[in-house]
């Protein structure tokens, strides 16, 4: 074990320097996945140092694998790892490249297996390293071997007479690996299983047992992959009793138990310190957070511009240019210094900092041009002696060297300027600022519920008027849903909202479905119900003036935290239930040892179910938490968890079946409402 740790670390450092990604040593789930990818791409014979090998290869991926690799490694990185071409496994028009080995990465579906068999039998590539994203079952492996043998017997008769192995498909198989990789790392501590419409799949009242079982097994497969990549057997699994989460947790528990014995399975390290607490939650646990509008940069980009696989496409500005251009796509990932520092910042701060960065850039350019002209100044150069001349040359050289870096900087700043402009346009036309503030107040339980209802009914009168809500039908619906969910089951003020929604022409399915859930008390803890004490003093401030363009106003209020302490308090109070649950579970685990916690846990976790895959755990507090949200997660929760984990010193990893924006979740609710024939 120690030996393997050591060699793994060395290769990690190698990969980090090779790809010039210094963050790879941070041990996050994304870094680990990148290292796994680099390892599977480094040729097995060269062993120690991937990339130094002179071997070139082609990389054949299926759709999911492509989604996995795309946010992690760019084409350039793949080149550095020796990959010359990346090909789609589904692509039937792939051509033979006979003297190159191929590395396959795909799910072990029957179609993929038959495609691999066809490739190897036809001798498309010199050799094949097979890597499966989840593990390949014994049955599938037998099918793979059998088809290969049959294929070579049928097609390789003539080749066999050559005395070479070129006709034998089996001889081309270089290795077969389970990679446990069927999840997409979007952020350092954020992964998504990319299972679309999972909320519908798990909550559909008309779903057949088979469908639910399939969905569960996919989730468990992906979650197991993620845990294997984290590399440590969980201390225990915790989840609310009697729901989808418990169902998933039970299945995962059974799967983990198979690998619990370190003698039999080497997937999980035996290192006790790294063992995480796994919290599995259901989206119903906290619907409101996912539905609400958010004011932070990353959730806002996700919501408004539908950030997908860390890539966003910004529609061309309508008013500006004369020639209509196609939408621009931007990557928002680790290479983007601005994104990585500002993903969690509220939008006004982002807009401010874009400006600051732009000015910095301009200053740097001026500096360089000044230097360059000083170096070029003929009289100075003539008068100066040799050492001065060489110093000037050196300056010029450094200026030239820093130019590419500056251009890259400029490109990033331009990108964010465009994004921010586009966001600002949406905020104005949809008055997202109003939604954000009203919903935030509602969810902390301090909001004026009547005022929110009033806002909706005022919107019925028609947009455009001063103080009325603009925005799309989905925006209205989301506000209404948050209003409903924050009220708890006893709230009687929903009729007005409902009638306003009807007259606004919203799809009522979602609302009625949510209403039924609330009445059945399924939709999780009513936010704000547990908030006491701290909020007592600020009860009077919630009467919100809802006049026209609030952007600058709002920014002032939110960020001069000293003068407007109330607002700051409100922002800090608005914590998703996920974070509360984690805090409660961690502090419960740390019965004796001290984890610095500010307040008493707000969520009662004593009735959470507990699974312990490897016997009972000791009393020490787990130092890492994996939170998994069945039915869709959102960036807002990820950011809050991240902030929380930094303050507490516990590493958290957040995962979900898919990353849904509020609009998408509302759409899924509508589908459910239709299925339940609520109109």
């Amino acid at each position: 074990m120690a030996l393997r740790e050591k060699s793994g670390g060395a290769s990690g450092a190698d990969v980090a320097s090779l790809l010039s990604l210094p963050f790879l040593s941070d041990n996050s789930i994304r870094s680990r996945q990148i290292l796994s990818l680099a390892k599977l791409l480094s040729s097995p014979s060269s062993g120690e140092s991937p990339g130094d090998s002179g071997e070139f290869k082609v990389f054949v991926l299926d759709a999911l694998a492509r989604d996995i690799v795309a946010p992690l490694l760019k084409v350039q990185d793949l080149r550095k790892l020796g990959v010359t071409l990346h090909l789609a496994l589904e692509d039937a028009s792939r051509q033979a490249i006979p003297d190159v080995p191929a590395v396959y990465l795909c799910a072990p579906t029957p179609e993929n297996i038959s495609r691999i068999v066809n490739d190897t039998v036809a001798g498309m590539y010199a050799a094949a390293s097979l890597n499966f994203t989840p593990s390949i079952s014994r049955v599938s492996m037998e099918a793979l071997a059998r088809e290969m043998i049959n294929g070579s017997k049928a097609g390789g008769g003539t080749d066999a007479s050559n005395g070479t192995a070129s006709g034998n498909a089996l001889s081309r198989v270089r290795s077969v690996f389970d990679q446990y990789m069927s999840f997409v790392s979007l952020e350092p501590n954020f992964f998504s299983l990319r299972i679309p419409d999972a909320y519908v799949a798990f909550n559909d009242p008309a779903a057949r047992d088979v469908d639910v079982a399939n969905a569960t097994s996919r989730v468990v497969e992906g979650l197991f992959s993620a845990l294997a990549t984290v590399g440590a057997m969980p201390w225990c699994l915790r989840c609310p009793r009697g729901g989808i989460a418990e169902h998933v947790a039970g299945a995962l528990h059974a799967k983990l138990k198979d690998h619990a014995n370190p003698a039999k399975s080497t997937i999980f390290a035996t290192d006790d310190a790294a063992r995480p607490l796994v919290v599995i939650l259901d989206r119903n646990f906290d619907l409101g957070t996912a539905l609400a509008h958010s004011w932070d940069y990353q959730p806002l980009v996700h919501d408004v511009l539908s950030l997908k696989l860390n890539r966003v496409s910004v529609p061309p500005s309508s008013g500006g240019t004369a020639s209509p251009k196609a939408a621009k796509t931007y990557d928002l990932d680790r290479d983007d210094f601005f994104w990585s520092t500002h993903a969690a910042s509220p939008f006004p701060k982002v807009a401010e900092d874009v400006d600051v960065q732009l000015n910095q850039y301009k200053r740097a350019v001026e500096e360089i041009s000044k230097q360059a002209t000083a170096g070029d100044d003929p009289s100075a150069a003539f008068d100066a002696n040799r050492s001065d001349l060489s110093a000037n040359t050196k300056k010029l050289m450094s200026a030239v060297n820093s130019l590419p870096e500056l251009t890259a900087r400029k490109r990033i700043i331009d990108k964010h300027t465009n994004i921010a402009t586009s966001l600002l346009g949406s905020i104005k036309t949809r008055s997202l600022d109003v939604y954000c503030s009203v919903e935030a107040e509602l969810m902390t339980g301090k909001g004026d519920r009547a005022a929110a209802a009033q806002l909706l009914s005022a919107a019925v009168g028609g947009g455009g008027g001063e103080g009325s809500l603009r925005g799309t039908a989905t925006d209205h619906l989301r506000l209404a849903l948050v209003h409903l969910l924050s009220g708890g089951s006893g709230a009687g003020d929903s009729e007005g909202v409902e009638s306003s929604l009807r007259s606004l022409g919203c799809d009522m399915g979602a609302y009625l479905y949510a209403k039924r859930m609330v009445s059945l008390n399924l939709a999780g803890p009513a936010p704000g119900s547990g908030v006491t004490g701290a909020s007592a003093g600020v009860g009077g401030m919630t009467a919100r003036d809802s006049d026209g363009n609030l952007l600058s106003d709002w920014a002032d209020k939110a960020f001069s935290s000293v003068t407007k302490g109330v607002k700051a308090l409100m922002m800090s109070e608005r914590r998703p239930a996920v974070v509360d649950a984690c805090e409660a579970l961690i502090s419960e685990g740390a019965s004796s040892s001290a984890v610095p916690l500010g307040t008493a846990p707000r969520i009662d976790v004593s009735n959470f179910a507990r699974f312990e895959p490897r016997g009972s755990s000791s009393g020490t507090a787990p130092r890492s938490v994996v939170v998994f949200m069945v039915g869709g997660g959102c960036y807002a929760e990820y950011l809050s968890l991240n902030a929380w984990s930094k303050s507490v010193g516990v590493r958290t990893t957040y995962g979900c079946t898919e990353c849904v924006s509020g609009g998408e979740l509302a759409a899924q609710l509508s589908v459910l409402g239709d299925k339940a024939s609520l109109k």
Binding site: S36, F56, A96
Partner: protein, 333 residues
């Protein structure tokens, strides 16, 4: 750390064996390694780092994969060159004037220069080869181009490093020279010259250039008779001039190397223009394909619309004709 994989190669081959596939002798034995050891059970990986000499790798391959073996040998050559470069860099960083490793540096520089020239030639050779054989299919050609470009980029990196090292060396030489000239300007501080000064033809250990420690050492050897002043100064002048010329020669050599490199640089740079701009994601073209497919589907739908429109028209015309026929039959007959 990298434990999140499971090697199932051996399992696969044992299944294949059981199912009657004749894999060859090496299959069952080679696959028996444990998880994570990362060795290749197949004997196919001849093109990888197995052998270290250029010719060895080339000989081990058959004609069909000439390209692959050449490419991999070039890759290995570049790797070997960069290890040499690392050594050179370590040598060049030494600023001490007493044990200036001039001969080693000169040798290494020569070797690396030769290496780079031959690698450059080999790459253009490879390029021709890939152009010549690329008639077979597009993806093979794309593979070939990428390989060539990749090697070029690597060579480019090595050369950049080389140039940097040489620049450092040049700086060091200049600094040494300036220090030397500063101290040897006054002939009163004559060093007692042993045989160390003429040991090395090119640059010498140059103890004469730092008189302070030597000057302090001179009084500690009282037994030594001082040489006649005339002879001393003459020897110094002669030695100085030879030393200076050697120095300037070395500098000129380094500078000429840098210029040469600059030439190769620009030649390569034209070839590797877009390599740096490859910040492309692998799903890029997939989206293009998707939009193309969607556009195609849209066109088909339009066509379907038109066809069904036509069909409806035919039916209507037919109906009208039938109607008139009916009227004709009813009223005329």
């Amino acid at each position: 750390m990298m434990s999140s994989t499971r090697d199932r190669t051996s399992e696969f081959f044992s299944i294949a064996d059981r199912l009657g596939g004749s894999v060859g002798a090496s299959a069952s034995g080679g696959g028996g390694a444990g998880a994570g050891s990362g060795l290749a059970p197949r004997g196919l990986s001849g093109s990888s780092l197995g052998s270290s000499s250029l010719s060895g790798a080339a000989l081990s391959k058959v004609d069909s994969s000439l390209f692959a073996s050449k490419a991999s040998s070039i890759g290995m050559g570049i790797h070997a060159t960069s290890t040499k470069l690392a050594r050179l860099a370590a040598l060049a960083k030494r600023t001490s004037m007493f044990d200036d490793p001039a001969r080693e540096i000169a040798e290494l520089t020569g070797v690396i220069k030769q290496d780079i020239a031959s690698l450059n030639a080999a790459i253009s050779d490879l390029q021709n080869l890939s152009r010549g054989t690329s008639g077979s299919n597009k993806q093979t050609a794309a593979h070939g181009t990428t390989v060539v470009n990749n090697l070029k980029t690597k060579l480019m990196g090595a050369m950049k490093q080389f140039k940097e090292v040489l620049t450092v060396r040049n700086e060091n030489l200049k600094v040494q020279e300036s220090r030397r000239s500063r101290f040897t300007a006054s002939p009163s501080k004559l060093p007692s010259q042993g045989d160390g000064g003429v040991r090395q033809p090119l640059l010498g250990a140059a103890p004469s250039s730092s008189p302070l420690p030597l000057g302090s050492r001179a009084p500690t050897t009282p037994g030594m008779p001082p040489p006649p002043p005339m002879f001393q100064s003459q020897a110094l002048v002669a030695q100085n001039s030879s030393y200076v010329s050697a120095r300037s020669e070395a500098i000129a050599q380094v500078e000429s190397t840098i210029t040469e490199l600059g030439g190769i640089f620009s030649q390569l740079a034209t070839m590797v223009q877009e390599q740096g701009e490859l910040a492309v994601r692998i799903d890029e073209n997939v989206e293009d394909t998707l939009s193309n497919v969607e556009a195609g589907q849209g066109e088909l739908l339009k066509y379907l619309d038109r066809i069904s429109g036509n069909r409806w028209l035919i039916l209507k015309v037919l109906g009208v004709v039938l109607f008139f026929l009916l009227i004709f039959v009813l009223f005329v007959l």
